[in-house]
C-alpha cells in the first residue's frame, strides 16, 4: 500500500507540528535553562533569577503545556483528515 495523498499529507502535518513542539521543548530547557542561563540570570522573576527559574521550574511547566497543546492540535488534525478514532 502506497500512502494515498491524504495519508501523506496527514503525516506531513503531524511531523511539522511536532517539530515546532520540539523547538519549544529545546529552547526552554537547553536554551533558557542551560546555554543562556547566565544572560537570563540578569533578569528576575520575583526572587528567582530567570535562568535558574527556567532550569528548575519554568521548563517543567512548559513541558506540560506543550504536551496538552500537541494533544489538542493533533485531535483537530485527526478529525480534519478523517483518521480519528470512534
Amino acid at each position: 500500500m502506497q500512502p494515498t495523498g491524504s495519508a501523506a499529507q496527514y503525516w506531513k502535518a503531524n511531523v511539522r507540528l511536532l517539530l515546532w513542539c520540539l523547538v519549544v521543548w529545546f529552547v526552554v530547557s537547553f536554551g533558557f535553562g542551560i546555554l543562556l542561563v547566565d544572560v537570563l540570570n540578569n533578569f528576575s522573576l520575583g526572587g528567582y533569577p530567570l535562568g535558574f527559574w527556567f532550569a528548575q521550574q519554568g521548563s517543567i511547566y512548559t513541558f506540560i503545556g506543550l504536551i496538552f497543546f500537541y494533544v489538542w492540535k493533533m485531535n483537530k488534525i485527526d478529525k480534519e483528515f478523517d483518521v480519528h478514532e470512534d
Partner: protein, 593 residues
C-alpha cells in the same frame, strides 16, 4: 502519640490498602496481566505512570542532590521530566496503535527479526535489573530506619506485600495499587514542604515560596541562601555549575532520551484504550510528576538553608555562634546513630563547624580568623528529605507520613520493573522465541513464576547490594538512551529503516556507551579495573560518562543510517505496517500474535 506507634499505624494502614486492592483486582487473562486489559482511563493511567516513574531516587535522593548542587540539580529536574515530551510526541501514540504487549514485541515485528528481539530483551533485562536493585535497597533502608526492624525481616515484609499484588494482579493489580501509592507519596512529599515554606517565607505553595522574601526580613529566600553559602566558602546556590555547560547539556539530554526509552515507562502506554488516550495520558503523567518535581527544588533549597542555620546560629559567621555539640538537636542524634550524619571535632572546641574546606582560600581565612581546622560535619545527602520534617520540628504524623511515602515510592517502581522483567521472560523469551504455541493459561502461569523469581532475586540483591548500586543508575539511563529509544523512534519515523540497520545501530550504541562507562568506572564497576581515572582531565573531549548516553544515541542513529543505505530497504509489508501505525484509527483492544 508516640512516634514509633504512629509510624507503625500509618505504614500498616497503607499496606492494608495495597493488600486489599490486590485481592480486588486479580488478573484472569494475559491481557489483564500484561496491560490491564487496555481499559485504564488516561488520567488514572497518568497517575499510575507517575508512581511507576517516581522511585526511591526521586522521593528520597533528588531533593538532597539539588540541595548540595544548587543550579546544576536542574539537569535531573529537566532531564527526568523532558523525556515525557519525547514520549508523548514520538513514541506513545504509535506504540499504542501497534497494539502489542511489550517493547521487544514491537522491535521484533517492526524489524522482522528474532535477532532484534534478542538484543531488545537483553538490554531490557540489564536495564530493569540494575534499576530494581536500587529500589529494593531503598525499601530495606526505609524499613530498617522507620520500623526499627531487622533488615532481613524488613525485606521479607516488603517482598510479601509486593508479591501479593504483582503476582496475583499483574498489570491490573499494579495499576490500581500504584494509584493508591501515588496519593500516599505525593501527600508525604508536599505536606512537609508546605509546612517548611510557611515557616521560612509565609507562603503556602513551596514553588512560590522559593521565589519569595523571607519572613521577618526583606531579602529573597534565594538571595539569602546565596549569601549564607558564600559566607561559609561554598559557591552561590543559584549559579553553581558543577558539570560545566557541555556536560550539563549532555547529561540533561541523556536523561531525557533515557526516560523515553525505559521499558517500564513505555509499557504503561499500552494499557489505555486508544491512541488519543495514549497522548493525553503522557500529559497527565507529567502533571502528576511535576507536582513533586517542582516542589523538590524548594525542599532542597530550604533544607540546606535550615541545615546551615542549625549549625551557624548567629546572624553573621563567628566562632562563638557555631552550634555546641552538647546542644545539638534530637534529629542530629537520631541520624548520627545511623552513620549517615557524622561529626568529627577536628579543632577540639566542642562546637560543630560546617563550611567548605575544599575552598582553599576560605579554609585559610577560617583557620586564621576562627581557628577552624577543617569541615567537621558530613551529611549524607539522601537523608535530607527524610530528616526534613524533624529539622523543621513538624508533628509526628508528618514524620510517619514521610516514612509511608518513601516506602510507597520504592514499592511502586519495583512493581513496574518486576512486570517488565517477568513479561520479557514469559512473553518475549518463552512465547516469542522458545515455545510459540504455548497456551494462554500456561503463559500466564509462566509469567507468575517469572515474577516470583524476579522478586526473590530483587530481594536477595537488596539484602546484598552490589557495591556499585548508585552508579548503575547512570548505566540504565545510558543503555535506554543509546539502544532502545533510537530503535523505536526510527522504527516509526524512518519507514525504510531495515533490520540490518536497526540491529547494527542498537549494538553500536549499546557497546560504545557501556565501554565508555567501563573505561572510567571500571569493568562491571569493579574498582581498580578502570583504564583511566574518572575526572575531566581524562574524559574524551571532556565528556562525563554520566552524559554519554546522548553520544551513544547519536552513534546508534548514524550507524543505523549508514548500514541501511548499503543494504536492502525494509520489505513492503513492513513499510505498510509503519503506514498503519502512523494513523490513529483502528487501534482496537488487545491484539496478540
Amino acid at each position: 502519640m508516640e512516634l514509633q506507634t504512629m509510624i507503625w499505624l500509618v505504614v500498616g494502614a497503607s499496606f492494608a490498602l495495597y493488600f486489599g486492592i490486590a485481592i480486588w483486582s486479580r488478573a484472569g487473562s494475559t491481557s489483564e496481566f500484561y496491560v490491564a486489559g487496555k481499559g485504564v482511563h488516561p488520567v488514572a493511567n497518568g497517575m499510575a505512570t507517575a508512581a511507576d516513574w517516581m522511585s526511591a531516587a526521586s522521593f528520597i535522593s533528588m531533593a538532597g542532590l539539588i540541595a548540595f548542587m544548587g543550579y546544576s540539580g536542574g539537569a535531573f529536574l529537566m532531564g527526568w521530566t523532558g523525556g515525557y515530551v519525547l514520549l508523548a510526541l514520538l513514541l506513545a501514540p504509535y506504540l499504542r496503535k501497534f497494539g502489542k504487549f511489550t517493547v521487544p514485541d514491537f522491535i521484533a515485528d517492526r524489524y522482522y527479526s528474532q535477532g532484534a528481539r534478542v538484543v531488545a530483551i537483553v538490554s531490557l533485562l540489564v536495564m530493569s535489573i540494575t534499576y530494581i536493585v536500587g529500589q529494593m535497597t531503598g525499601v530495606a533502608v526505609a524499613f530498617s530506619r522507620f520500623l526499627e526492624l531487622d533488615l532481613f525481616w524488613g525485606m521479607v515484609v516488603g517482598m510479601a506485600v509486593v508479591f501479593s499484588y504483582t503476582v496475583l494482579g499483574g498489570m491490573k493489580g499494579i495499576t490500581y495499587t500504584q494509584i493508591a501509592q501515588y496519593v500516599v507519596l505525593i501527600f508525604a512529599y508536599t505536606v512537609p514542604a508546605v509546612f517548611i515554606s510557611l515557616q521560612l517565607t509565609g507562603v503556602f505553595l513551596p514553588q512560590i515560596g522559593l521565589g519569595s522574601t523571607m519572613t521577618g526580613n526583606e531579602m529573597y529566600m534565594l538571595q539569602k541562601l546565596d549569601q549564607v553559602l558564600v559566607e561559609i566558602g561554598f559557591t552561590e546556590y543559584t549559579t553553581n555549575n558543577n558539570f560545566g555547560t557541555l556536560n550539563m547539556f549532555l547529561l540533561t539530554m541523556s536523561l531525557m532520551i533515557g526516560t523515553a526509552g525505559l521499558p517500564h515507562v513505555i509499557v504503561r502506554f499500552f494499557t489505555v484504550p486508544n491512541v488519543r488516550d495514549a497522548r493525553k495520558s503522557a500529559g497527565w503523567a507529567l502533571v502528576f510528576i511535576a507536582i513533586l518535581y517542582t516542589t523538590a527544588p524548594a525542599v532542597g533549597a530550604m533544607a540546606i538553608y535550615n541545615l546551615v542555620k542549625t549549625v551557624h546560629t548567629g546572624e553573621t559567621i563567628a566562632e562563638e555562634t557555631t552550634l555546641r555539640y552538647e546542644e545539638r538537636p534530637e534529629w542530629m542524634k537520631n541520624w548520627e546513630a545511623t552513620g549517615l550524619l557524622k561529626f568529627d571535632d577536628k579543632n577540639e572546641d566542642g562546637r560543630i563547624q560546617f563550611y567548605s574546606d575544599a575552598n582553599k582560600e576560605f579554609a585559610a581565612t577560617a583557620e586564621e580568623q576562627y581557628g577552624w581546622k577543617g569541615n567537621e560535619l558530613s551529611v549524607n545527602r539522601d537523608i535530607m528529605v527524610l530528616a526534613n520534617p524533624e529539622i523543621a520540628n513538624l508533628p509526628n504524623w508528618v514524620i510517619a507520613l514521610v516514612a509511608a511515602g518513601g516506602i510507597a515510592a520504592a514499592l511502586s517502581t519495583a512493581a513496574g520493573l518486576l512486570l517488565v522483567i517477568s513479561s520479557s521472560i514469559s512473553h518475549d523469551l518463552l512465547k516469542g522465541i522458545l515455545k510459540p504455541d504455548i497456551s494462554e493459561k500456561n503463559e500466564l502461569m509462566a509469567g507468575r513464576i517469572a515474577m516470583t523469581g524476579a522478586i526473590l532475586l530483587a530481594g536477595y540483591l537488596g539484602l546484598n547490594p552490589p557495591g556499585f548500586a548508585a552508579q548503575t543508575v547512570a548505566l540504565a539511563f545510558g543503555l535506554a538512551a543509546s539502544s532502545l529509544f533510537p530503535a523505536l523512534m526510527m522504527g516509526i519515523f524512518f519507514k525504510k529503516m531495515n533490520k540490518e540497520g536497526a540491529i547494527a545501530g542498537m549494538l553500536a550504541g549499546l557497546i560504545s556507551t557501556v565501554m565508555y562507562i567501563f573505561i572510567y568506572k571500571g569493568f562491571l564497576f569493579i574498582p581498580g579495573t578502570n583504564l583511566f581515572p574518572d575526572n575531566a582531565e581524562y574524559w574524551m573531549f571532556g565528556i562525563n560518562p554520566l552524559g554519554f548516553g546522548t553520544i551513544g544515541a547519536i552513534i546508534n542513529v548514524i550507524v543505523a543510517l549508514i548500514v541501511m543505505k548499503i543494504t536492502a530497504p525494509a520489505p513492503a509489508h513492513i513499510q505498510d505496517m509503519v503506514e498503519n501505525v502512523r494513523v490513529p484509527r483502528g487501534a482496537g483492544g488487545a491484539v496478540d500474535h
